[in-house]
C-alpha cells in the first residue's frame, strides 16, 4: 500500500468513525436548534399547518409583556438561589462528616448519595405523599398544629418544599465533589498544623477553605444550572401550584421556567410563544456559562 493510498484510507476511516455520533448530533441537536430559533420568529403551531408565517419579534414582545412569564422567571431565580445555598451548605456539612474519623463513614457516604440515583419524577411523587399525607399525619398524632396542613398548599411553603426535595436529591452528589476535594488535601499538612497547635476552626480556615475553593466553584455552577433547569420534580411535586398573585394577576406560585415553557406550548397550545420563551431560557444559560468560563479562566491565572 503506498503512502497516498494509506492517507486516503485513513481519511475514510476517520469519516466512518466520526459519522455515527456526528450524524446523530446534527439530526437531534443542531438542526432542531436552528429550527427552534426560526420557529420563535414565526406563527408556528406545531400541529397540521399549511404555511408557517414569519412574524418577526412578535412572540418576544408578547412574552416580555406576559406577567406569568415574568413571575416564572422570578420564582425560578429565587428557587435557584435558595437551592444553590442550601445544597452547598448541606453538601459541605455532609462532606466534613464523612471525611472525619467516625465509624461507618463509607456507609453513610453511600447513603447520602443514594437519592441522586432516583429520577425526579418518581421522587416528586414520593415527596408529594410525604408532604400531603405523612407529615400532616405525623403532626396530627403529635399535636403539632402548624404542620397539620400540607406544605404544598401555600405558595411560599410549596417553594420551600421543592427546595427541600431538590436539596435532598442533589446534596449527596455535591457532597462527593467536596469529598474528592477534601481528600486531595494532604493529610500531612493537616497533621502538621495540628501539631503546631492550630485548632479545628483555624485548620479549616487556613488549609481546607483555600483547597476546597475550586470544588466550590464547580459545585456552585453545577447546582445553579441544574436548579435553573428544574422540571421533573416541579411537575410531579406541585405541577406549578398552588395559585398566587403577582403584579395584579393570578399566577401559579411554583411554575418554574421549564414548566412554564412546556405549559405554554402544550397546555395553552401556543407553540411559537413557548419556543420564544425557550430561546430566552437558552440565552440566560449562555450568559451563566460565559460567567463560569470567565471564573475558570481567572482561577487558572491565579493558580
Amino acid at each position: 500500500m503506498n503512502n497516498q493510498g494509506m492517507k486516503q484510507n485513513n481519511r475514510l476511516v476517520n469519516a466512518l468513525f466520526l459519522a455515527p455520533s456526528l450524524t446523530a448530533f446534527i439530526l437531534v441537536v443542531i438542526i432542531p436548534f436552528f429550527m427552534g430559533l426560526y420557529f420563535s420568529l414565526t406563527d408556528w403551531n406545531g400541529a397540521i399547518q399549511d404555511k408557517i408565517n414569519f412574524v418577526g419579534l412578535k412572540n418576544f414582545s408578547v412574552i416580555f409583556s406576559d406577567v406569568k412569564f415574568h413571575y416564572s422567571f422570578l420564582v425560578t431565580t429565587v428557587y435557584t438561589a435558595a437551592n444553590v445555598i442550601v445544597i452547598n451548605l448541606v453538601a459541605l456539612t455532609l462532606a466534613m462528616m464523612v471525611t472525619s474519623n467516625i465509624k461507618f463513614r463509607n456507609f453513610y457516604r453511600s447513603g447520602f448519595f443514594t437519592p441522586n440515583l432516583i429520577g425526579g419524577i418518581v421522587l416528586g411523587y414520593v415527596w408529594q405523599f410525604i408532604f400531603v399525607n405523612a407529615i400532616p399525619g405525623f403532626a396530627e398524632s403529635m399535636g403539632i398544629e402548624s404542620l397539620t396542613s400540607s406544605l404544598l398548599g401555600k405558595g411560599s411553603t410549596a417553594l420551600a418544599a421543592i427546595v427541600i426535595v431538590g436539596s435532598w436529591q442533589y446534596a449527596g452528589y455535591i457532597m462527593m465533589i467536596y469529598v474528592a476535594a477534601i481528600q486531595n488535601v494532604p493529610v500531612s499538612l493537616l497533621e502538621a498544623a495540628q501539631i503546631d497547635g492550630a485548632n479545628f476552626l483555624q485548620r479549616t480556615r487556613a488549609i481546607l477553605v483555600p483547597l476546597v475553593a475550586p470544588a466550590f466553584t464547580v459545585s456552585t455552577f453545577l447546582t445553579l444550572v441544574n436548579s435553573f433547569k428544574q422540571f421533573d420534580v416541579n411537575v410531579s411535586l406541585t405541577n406549578g401550584g398552588p395559585s398566587g398573585q403577582f403584579a395584579g394577576k393570578v399566577v401559579k406560585a411554583t411554575e418554574f421556567l421549564a414548566l412554564n415553557i412546556y405549559n405554554t406550548a402544550f397546555t395553552r397550545n401556543r407553540m411559537a410563544e413557548g419556543q420564544a420563551k425557550a430561546v430566552v431560557f437558552f440565552l440566560v444559560l449562555v450568559i451563566v456559562s460565559l460567567i463560569q468560563v470567565y471564573f475558570n479562566k481567572k482561577k487558572e491565572v491565579e493558580m
Binding site: 406545531g46 395559585s243 395584579g248
Partner: protein, 443 residues
C-alpha cells in the same frame, strides 16, 4: 492480517451505520406487516381490509370495560379492536399530535369540542349516514354535518345526601335559586353537631392537587349556561369577544363565594378528588360538587345512602336544571384504511344489546341514545338521566374557551377566592382581566 483487517473494517462499517442503520432495518418492519395484512386479506372471503383498528380512549375509568367490550366484539367481527388509553392527567391532545406525527394515528379518537375539531377537521370522517345518528340529540355536528359519536352524557349539579337533608327538613326541590341555597346552607351549618357533619359542602379548588378542572371548567360553565336555553351561546360568545356579562358574573361570584364559605376548608384548599369524595361518602358533608363520574368512587367508599342532584342556582331567578352534555365524542379518522371498520364498531356500541349493556351496565355511563332502555344502577348517573329525560338540562360551553384557559388561567383565580386572598369584587375583576385577553389568545 488481511482477513482480520477486512473483518474489522466490516465491523466498523456495521457500527458506523448503527445510528441510522437501526432506522433502516426497522423501516422494513411496518412494510412487512402491511404486506402480511394484504396477504391474509386474500385468503378468507369475508375478511375486512384491515386486521386491527385502534381506539384512543381518554377515559381511564372505563378502560377495563371498554377493553372487555372490544375483546368480545373482536371475536365475531373479524377485526381486532385495540383500546389505547391515556391517563386522565396526561395530555391526550398532545399525545394525539405526536401519534399523527409518527404515523400511528388511531382509527377512532376523541374530540372534546371545537378546539379538537379544528385540530383534526381535515381527517375527520362524516358520520351522518350512520344508523345511530338519528337516534341521538347529542351528536357533534358542524355546518349540518354529523361527525361526532357522543361517548356518553355526563352531568353535574349539587349532589346531596338525602338523609341529611330530610333530617334538617329541607326539600331538595326548593333548591333552585340563590336565596333558597343561602337559607339551606345557614340552617345546615347551624345543625352541624346534630347532623354529625364537618361542613355543608365538599368541593376542592386546589391548583396543587390539580382540581382546577372542577372550578375553572365545570363551575365556570355555570356562569356560561345556567338558566339559558340548551345550546345557547350568548355568554360564551361574549367571552370569546373578550367581554363579560357583568351583572351575571357578579351574581355568580356571590354564589361561588357562598359555596367556598360553607365548604370544608381542608378539602377546599388542600384536598384532591379522593378527599373530596371521601368527605361526602363518609357523611361529613351534605353536598358534593362533582359530576356523575364520581359514582364508582363513591361506591368503593361505601357511600350507601340515598343521593341525587339539585341544580346549581347562582341567581335570584330560578335555574331548574343540571349541567349535562356529552363531554366528548368519538370521531373516525377518515384517512385510515380502517375507517369503515371503525364506523361498524361505533354502530355496535350504539345499536346492539351488548353495546347498550356495555355503556350502561358495565361502564355505568349515561347513554346519549334514545333507544337505550336500560337505566344506570348508580344513583348520581340515574339522577342525571332523570333530569335529562325531563328536558331540564343546561349545556356545556366551557370547552369553547381557548386551550388551557379554564384550568390554567381561571382555576387559580378560584383558589385565590377560596383562600381569602381576594374578595368577590376582586374575583370579578381578575376574571374580567383574563377574559379581556381571550381575543388575543384566539387571534
Amino acid at each position: 492480517m488481511r482477513k482480520v483487517l477486512s473483518i474489522i473494517l466490516l465491523v466498523t462499517l456495521v457500527l458506523s451505520l448503527a445510528a441510522c442503520g437501526t432506522t433502516t432495518t426497522t423501516t422494513a418492519a411496518p412494510a412487512a406487516t402491511t404486506a402480511a395484512a394484504a396477504e391474509t386479506t386474500a385468503a378468507p372471503a369475508e375478511t375486512p381490509a384491515v386486521e386491527k383498528i385502534v381506539l384512543a380512549n381518554n377515559k381511564v375509568e372505563i378502560d377495563e370495560q371498554l377493553k372487555a367490550f372490544a375483546a368480545e366484539y373482536s371475536k365475531t367481527a373479524g377485526v381486532t379492536v385495540e383500546i389505547a388509553t391515556t391517563g386522565g392527567g396526561a395530555d391526550y391532545g398532545g399525545n394525539l399530535k405526536a401519534q399523527l406525527q409518527s404515523g400511528n394515528m388511531p382509527d377512532i379518537f376523541v374530540i372534546e369540542g371545537p378546539a379538537g375539531y379544528d385540530d383534526w377537521k381535515d381527517i375527520i370522517a362524516d358520520l351522518g349516514d350512520q344508523p345511530w345518528a338519528a337516534d341521538t340529540d347529542y351528536a357533534y355536528s358542524v355546518d349540518g354535518k354529523t361527525i361526532g359519536f357522543p361517548v356518553a352524557i355526563e352531568g353535574y349539579g349539587m349532589a346531596y345526601n338525602k338523609a341529611l337533608l330530610d333530617k334538617a327538613g329541607i326539600d331538595p326541590k326548593t333548591l333552585t335559586n340563590f336565596n333558597a341555597y343561602k337559607a339551606a346552607f345557614e340552617k345546615l351549618d347551624g345543625m352541624k353537631a346534630d347532623l354529625g357533619i364537618d361542613a355543608v359542602v365538599s368541593m376542592a379548588a386546589s391548583t396543587a392537587t390539580g382540581m382546577t378542572w372542577v372550578t375553572g371548567l365545570h363551575n365556570f360553565n355555570i356562569y356560561l349556561t345556567a338558566g339559558l336555553p340548551y345550546g345557547d351561546t350568548t355568554v360564551i360568545d361574549k367571552l370569546l369577544a373578550g367581554e363579560v356579562d357583568e351583572a351575571r358574573l357578579t351574581q355568580y361570584a356571590e354564589y361561588v363565594n357562598m359555596l367556598f364559605q360553607y365548604a370544608d376548608k381542608e378539602v377546599l384548599l388542600n384536598g384532591n378528588y379522593d378527599a373530596q369524595a371521601q368527605a361526602f361518602a363518609a357523611g361529613k358533608t351534605v353536598f358534593l360538587h362533582q359530576g356523575n363520574w364520581v359514582d364508582p368512587t363513591l361506591k368503593t367508599l361505601e357511600a350507601d345512602f340515598e343521593m341525587a342532584y339539585a341544580p346549581h342556582a347562582p341567581f335570584v331567578e330560578d335555574t331548574d336544571g343540571v349541567l349535562a352534555a356529552p363531554p366528548s365524542w368519538y370521531v373516525v379518522n377518515g384517512d385510515s384504511a380502517g375507517a369503515e371498520e371503525a364506523k361498524k364498531f361505533l354502530n355496535a356500541i350504539a345499536t346492539t344489546e351488548a353495546g347498550h349493556s356495555y355503556m350502561v351496565e358495565a361502564a355505568g355511563m349515561i347513554p346519549a341514545f334514545k333507544s337505550v332502555k336500560l337505566t344506570p344502577a348508580v344513583p348520581l348517573s340515574k339522577s342525571i338521566m332523570e333530569w335529562a329525560s325531563a328536558g331540564k338540562t343546561y349545556s356545556w360551553q366551557q370547552y369553547k374557551m381557548p386551550s388551557g384557559f379554564g384550568m390554567d388561567t381561571l382555576g387559580p383565580i378560584y383558589e385565590q377566592l377560596a383562600s381569602g386572598a381576594v374578595d368577590t369584587a376582586g374575583f370579578v375583576e381578575l376574571i374580567k382581566g383574563e377574559v379581556a385577553t381571550v381575543p388575543d389568545l384566539l387571534g
